[in-house]
Symmetry: C2
Subunit: 194 residues, 2 copies
């Protein structure tokens, strides 16, 4: 059965963005440290080894649910997330900014994360749904519409920044689905226990 | 060369104690969830499998540096940490409570974490030093006297409580020394890069 899967790179101390994260400095100071495991020297997705295999899974997803903050920081990837032509759903209570009118694949969903996820799952069919963004992850966990978490845990302590998990209303039990051990990242995939 | 090694069980969202942690409720509500990987049904250290091997390393350490909060919550393990007869150093700027007079293995160190660690390393000789406690871990990292971190990462989101890593003054790079993958815990050992 297809799953909604959060893909996030996180420091050991739980940060997904470095200090001084903001519109002019998306991700914060030298936040690319968290993403080095997956990128070639010229900034493209690696296609070799473990990183390549993980990106194969990532790229095989059939829809995206992404937080507004993440989406706007990269202007919705120019309307097409990594050139894959799959629909992008952005849960938000406010209307989208003007650029979104040019992006037929981008839909702002104003009636909550459950609705955004239901639309994404319907669009993805038999493929997984890719979930991105810290706030969105937490809202999806709270609403019990997040099925799995693929965490790329990076061997660094950021010391500050923005956390993936801040405070949740209750404990969430997970099962470890897979651990892939590389020098650059410990890739742990969890399934939310229901 | 012997190392100072932090051993801590941590939830995926970074908590080492659950909500409502305090003197009458050490570790917080159902915090033993974090330690179930290592315990038998009657609460003793497991001696089998991965847990047994990790406790062999843990029990082979030759001295302990532990935060005051942790030490006092368990009244200094009655003066002998897990019956191993090794010295226990507690960095604190305040004098110890009265029970400590009965514990010849327990030394309160008032002149800082560097001094506590130096005394522990001297006492441990060719063995590693066991480090425990969230505040103590952070102070040791800041003072650059923590060599390794053995994190038992537990597949649960606590949602709240007390974090192992709060805010550090600067980024700390780590190397992954070893990953041991079990269903109960992902045991990741890191070395602090200097």
């Amino acid at each position: 059965m297809p799953s909604s899967v959060l893909y996030m790179s996180m420091s050991l101390d739980g940060y997904i963005a470095a200090p001084n994260d903001g519109p002019g400095n998306p991700g914060g100071d030298n936040f690319m440290r968290l993403h080095a495991w997956g990128l070639t020297p010229d900034g493209k997705q690696r296609t070799d080894g473990t990183a390549g295999k993980i990106f194969d899974e990532y790229n095989a997803t059939g829809a995206i649910v992404v937080g507004r903050r993440t989406a706007e920081q990269v202007d919705h990837w120019g309307g097409d997330h990594h050139g894959r032509g799959v629909p992008i759903f952005v849960p938000s209570h406010r209307p989208p900014g003007p650029s979104v009118a040019n992006y037929p694949l981008v839909t702002y969903v104003t009636d909550g994360i459950e609705s955004a996820m239901a639309q994404a799952k319907a669009a993805a069919g038999d493929r997984d749904v890719l979930v991105q963004g810290g706030d969105t992850a937490q809202r999806a966990l709270e609403a019990e519409v997040l099925d799995e978490l693929q965490i790329h845990q990076i061997p660094v302590l950021f010391g500050g920044g923005r956390r993936l998990f801040d405070v949740l209303p209750s404990r969430v039990e997970l099962d470890i689905v897979r651990v892939v051990d590389t020098p650059e990242s410990t890739h742990i995939r969890y399934r939310v226990r229901r």
